[in-house]
Symmetry: C2
Subunit: 176 residues, 2 copies
C-alpha cells in the first residue's frame, strides 16, 4: 500500500510518501515541501501547489492520498489558506481517480504516538523511528505529511471493515 | 470588459458573465449554477466544480474572474466548503492567466445597491434592473454571481488607479 500524505498549507505544503502494510515495517519513498511565496497572488499560489502535487503524484504513483482534515478553530486567515491548499490536493488526486482519505490532526497523532495530544517533537520522533530515518524530517510540515501517510496505512484496514459493514447493512436493507 | 463572477459553494456555485464598462449599460451574457451532490465525496465534488468552471471559461472567454472573498464568521462547515470551491475557481482562472479579483459580500452589495447591508431580494432586484432582465435570476447564488461581475466592472477603474499609484510610488522610491 503506497500512500501520499499531504499536510496542506499555502506557504508550506508538506508531502511524504510511505509504503507498507499494517503490522509490517514501513518504508519512506520520499518527503518534501511544496512552497509558494507569501507575496504572490492567491490564484498563482494555488497553481504552484497544483503543479507541485502533480509532480509528486507523477513521481510516486500512490494508491491513496491522505490529507489533513481542516478545522476552523484556529487562526481564521490560516485556516482559509489551509482549506484552499487542501482543496487543490484533493482535486489533483480525485481527478486521477486516486481515493482521498481525510484524517484529523488528533487521529494522526494518536496513530503514530498513541496520544491525540502529542506535540510536534513527539510526532517527529516517532516518524523518525517508524521509518528508520537518521533524523526527524524538517520542516515539521514534512514530518506531518509522513505521519498522515502512516496513519492512513494503519487505519485503512479498520476503515475498510467499517465501509464493508455499512455496505452489507445497506444491501440487507435493500433486499429485505 | 467581460467578467465571470463566481459565488463559490460546494452544493451550488453561482456563475454569471457580464460585459460592459463603468458608466455604460451592462449586458448579461450568461448565468447559471454549477451543482454537486451533497452526498458525493469531497474530492469528486471539487472535480465536478472544476469541470463546470472550465466549461464557463471555454464558453465565454472572460478577461477577468471575480470571486467572492470568503470569511470565517459564519457556519464553520459551510465556510470550509466555500473556501474549497473558491480555490478551484481561482485555480481554473489563474491556470489560464486570467486575473482574479476578490470582492467581499459587502463590497458587492454596496456596489449594486448603494448599501453594504442590503438583503438578497434587494441585490436580486438591482441585478435585474441593471441587466434589464425580465425577472431576478434564480437561485440567489446565480444573482450573486452577476452582482460580483457588475461590482468588478464598476470597481475596476478605481482599483487600477490605486495599483498605478502604488506602482508609481514604488518607482519613485526606487529612482529617488
Amino acid at each position: 500500500m503506497r500512500v501520499l500524505g499531504v499536510d496542506p498549507g499555502l506557504t508550506r505544503c508538506g508531502v511524504g510518501v510511505v509504503e507498507g502494510l499494517a503490522g509490517r515495517p514501513l518504508t519512506m519513498l520520499g518527503v518534501g515541501v511544496v512552497r509558494t511565496p507569501a507575496d504572490a497572488e492567491l490564484g498563482h499560489r494555488l497553481v504552484a501547489i497544483e503543479r507541485g502535487i502533480e509532480e509528486w503524484l507523477d513521481a510516486h504513483r500512490p494508491e491513496f492520498v491522505a490529507v489533513e482534515r481542516v478545522f476552523s478553530q484556529h487562526n481564521v486567515r490560516t485556516v482559509m489558506g489551509t482549506a484552499q491548499a487542501s482543496a487543490v490536493a484533493m482535486l489533483c488526486a480525485s481527478r486521477r481517480g486516486i481515493p482521498v482519505a481525510l484524517h484529523t490532526p488528533s487521529e494522526v497523532k494518536a496513530a503514530v504516538t498513541g496520544s491525540g495530544r502529542a506535540d510536534k517533537a513527539q510526532v517527529g520522533a516517532m516518524v523518525t523511528r517508524l521509518l528508520r530515518l537518521d533524523a526527524p524530517p524538517k520542516p515539521a510540515d514534512a514530518a506531518d505529511a509522513l505521519a498522515l501517510a502512516i496513519c492512513h496505512i494503519w487505519r485503512a484496514p479498520a476503515l475498510n471493515r467499517l465501509q464493508q459493514a455499512h455496505a452489507q447493512h445497506s444491501v440487507r436493507k435493500v433486499t429485505r
